[in-house]
């Protein structure tokens, strides 16, 4: 059964798809498509990810162009912010009589 199978082909590039579902909202990552170029990637994203009225605007980005932070750096990158509670409004006391602020 294995003799009929062709060898794997050269990969077709992967693109990440971002949709804006309503005006006023940011684009949100929804998935990926394979396409040889940007035009076909945009069409594929439209055909795959907007079949139920999910989007008003599409971005496609080559997956290879995304630079991600290393999960191993999580503590270094994100832990220090935990102690800066003075960045949050609840840190400050304002008497109730002053009303909403």
């Amino acid at each position: 059964m294995t003799d009929a199978a062709p060898p794997p082909e050269a990969p077709i590039p992967l693109w990440e798809v971002f949709l804006r579902s309503r005006n006023g909202l940011a684009h949100k990552h929804v998935g990926s498509v394979h396409a040889v170029d940007a035009t076909l990637a945009l069409q594929a994203a439209r055909d795959v990810y907007t079949r139920r009225g999910e989007g008003l605007s599409i971005w496609v980005v080559p997956s290879a162009a995304i630079v991600a932070s290393d999960p191993a750096d999580k503590d270094t990158l994100f832990e220090p912010t935990g102690s800066k509670i003075y960045r949050h409004p609840t840190f400050y006391e304002v008497p109730e009589d002053v009303g909403h602020m």
Binding site: L40, A44, R51
Partner: protein, 241 residues
């Protein structure tokens, strides 16, 4: 046993609606035959989207006749179908499928644009035009890639154009009602030429043009297509599905 066929009393209005509806149904059916066979998974979804648009257009147009949409689709003989012959040709390879979709959709898009102001077709044309404009774009991008791809794809794309060209004349035959298809020809030529050029393909010469679909004289292929498509309603004429 009595025949399971119906005959439609064709007014000019019905003739117009049926021609457009049958174009959409027959081409939509052909595209649905690609299911499970597309060259790329992404294209599997794209082809189904186009097919679903066309089947939806056909339904709206059939319903506008005031007759039952399923009776029209499933109980007419081939001679009762009014579609242009190019719609019913077998899919062939991906080049034939995309070249046909490009040539046909470019003409149909112009037709729907002209029909937006038409009393009978207007409401349907407005939505259909948007759908068709996307079909043109999608098919054009593929035709360019196939024409200007590899030597093999170029040959296949040129063969497809050569095969289909004699069927394009029928798309512009004058009609007694609705927008005049003949008047759309120059705009079609102007829209088609740059894409063919980008695809590095040669526009075939205008020789003898095939004709007959609008009056019910079809190719041999439509009978086979309908035999398959209509098998259940024809076999069980009393059943509802």
């Amino acid at each position: 046993m009595a025949s399971t066929s119906i005959t439609v009393e064709e007014t000019a209005e019905r003739g117009l609606l049926l021609a457009r509806a049958d174009d959409a149904l027959v081409l939509g059916h052909r595209l649905s035959e690609w299911t499970g066979r597309a060259p790329l998974l992404e294209e599997e979804l794209a082809l189904a989207n186009v097919a679903l648009d066309l089947i939806g257009q056909a339904r709206a147009l059939y319903q506008a006749t005031g007759l039952d949409e399923d009776a029209l689709a499933y109980r007419r003989d081939a001679s009762g179908f009014r579609n242009a012959l190019i719609m019913e040709l077998p899919n062939g390879d991906f080049a034939v499928t995309m070249a046909r979709l490009f040539l046909v959709s470019t003409a149909t898009d112009l037709y729907w644009r002209a029909a937006v102001a038409d009393e009978l077709l207007g409401p349907i044309a407005a939505r259909a035009e948007k759908e068709t404009a996307y079909h043109v774009r999608h098919a054009a991008e593929w035709l360019v890639r196939l024409g200007d791809g590899t030597a093999e794809s170029h040959r296949r794309a040129q063969d497809a154009l050569d095969l289909l060209w004699p069927y394009t004349g029928e798309l512009f035959e004058p009609a007694p009602l609705g927008p005049d298809p003949a008047a759309l020809r120059p705009a079609w030529e102007a829209a088609v030429a740059p894409v063919i050029a980008r695809a590095t393909l040669r526009r075939p010469a205008d020789g003898w043009m095939q004709s007959g679909g609008r009056s019910g004289r079809h190719t041999e292929h439509l009978g086979h297509m309908l035999a398959e498509m209509q098998v259940l309603p024809r076999t069980y004429p009393d059943a509802r599905w």
